[in-house]
């Protein structure tokens, strides 16, 4: 078994994710975590998302890295300008689309 079998990955994903949601629902009325571990868990979504985005975003438009760079720049700029989630996504996709068709 390795990650080249897509269906296996999906089922492993389910077998990992579902118990994480189920166990506390069934058994936990209280939960006390070590302060360091709590901070680790608070911060991990941010580091994980960052690692998923960079450098992946630079290669996400096949054979057209410069368009991907422009898309990344647009996304960062619109998020910095406090655009909402959907506005950021829509702007980025539209700019990338326009760059691809011109």
């Amino acid at each position: 078994m390795d990650s080249n079998n897509y269906l296996t990955m999906i089922m492993v994903g389910f077998l990992v994710t579902y118990p994480l949601r189920l166990v506390p629902a069934l058994f936990f009325s209280k939960l006390k975590l070590n302060a360091f571990f709590q901070r680790f868990l608070d911060i991990i979504p941010y580091t994980a998302i960052t690692a998923l985005v960079f450098p992946g975003i630079f290669y996400c438009i096949e054979g057209n890295d410069y368009v991907a760079y422009a898309g990344a720049a647009i996304a960062i700029i619109s998020a910095l300008l406090k655009a909402s989630l959907s506005v950021t996504i829509v702007c980025t996709v539209i700019v990338v689309y326009l760059l691809l068709i011109i």
Partner: protein, 258 residues
């Protein structure tokens, strides 16, 4: 409130979540399709995994021949927040059957957790829960299905452009977090640089896991009073429950004395 009123209120409040899940679901399906997942696998993953970043991670790992234990460890760490969120959500219920807990727990996500646990106490009920959580799940699956359909008739440039949508979503999550806390911004930038460097020397899947864990350990060591920790404050939930119990006890005492 009646059962149907509670259900409809939950449904109404979930509308913004639906608006967010459908486009992201479409983007996920397009991205997975580009990486060789079949339509059936794409929809199945949305039904069974139901986790934006988790599914994105699985698609990124596909075909990299990452060893299964590494893949699982990364996924556990990435999705461990559901463990905490689920604890909070089900602490809100005083009584709930085993079957309902088994079925309902699958539906806990970041957004539904936030909406539900911040709702007024008197609304916490099974129909209100179903109105929120089931609606959001259906929206997520619908998005994936629409994405599968869309990629077969949309112009190729547009499906290609949609491939960047999930990345844009994640940037839109990261940037405000970094703006709010400069130390988080430094951590995000450092993680991006580290992962970009590692990417050129080791397998992509290993790079992601190493940078995620290493930088989270560094972050947990240096960022000690970040605001997100109270997002799910279990102690406060416990206190609330105890206060309620006290109130009930007092009430019953009063009634007895009358």
């Amino acid at each position: 409130m009646t059962t149907s009123q509670l259900y409809l209120l939950g449904l109404k409040r979930t509308f913004p979540i639906v608006l967010g899940y459908i486009p992201v679901g479409i983007a996920y399906a397009v991205y997975a399709g580009q990486n060789g997942f079949t339509p059936w696998e794409i929809v199945l993953m949305s039904i069974t995994n139901y986790s934006g970043s988790g599914q994105f991670f699985i698609v990124s790992m596909a075909g990299t021949a990452a060893p299964l234990p590494v893949f699982m460890l990364a996924l556990v760490l990435m999705n461990f927040r559901y463990f905490i969120m689920s604890t909070c959500v089900f602490n809100k219920f005083k009584k709930l059957s085993f079957i309902k807990r088994t079925l309902f727990s699958h539906l806990v996500t970041d957004e539904t957790f936030a909406l539900f646990t911040t709702s007024e106490k008197e609304l916490i009920s099974v129909p209100y829960f179903v109105g929120i959580f089931l609606t959001a799940w259906i929206a997520w699956i619908t998005g994936a299905a629409l994405g599968v359909l869309a990629s077969s008739f949309l112009p190729q440039a547009l499906t290609q452009a949609l491939g960047i949508a999930l990345f844009a979503l994640f940037i839109a999550i990261l940037v405000p977090a970094g703006k709010k806390d400069l130390r988080v911004a430094v951590l995000i930038i450092a993680t991006a640089i580290l992962n970009t460097c590692l990417y050129h020397y080791i397998k992509e899947s290993h790079a992601i896991v190493i940078s995620t864990i290493l930088m989270a350990v560094i972050g947990a060591t240096f960022i000690k009073n970040k605001g997100t920790a109270d997002e799910c404050n279990i102690e406060s939930v416990e206190k609330e429950l105890e206060e309620e119990k006290d109130k009930l006890a007092k009430k019953s005492q009063e009634q007895e004395s009358k």
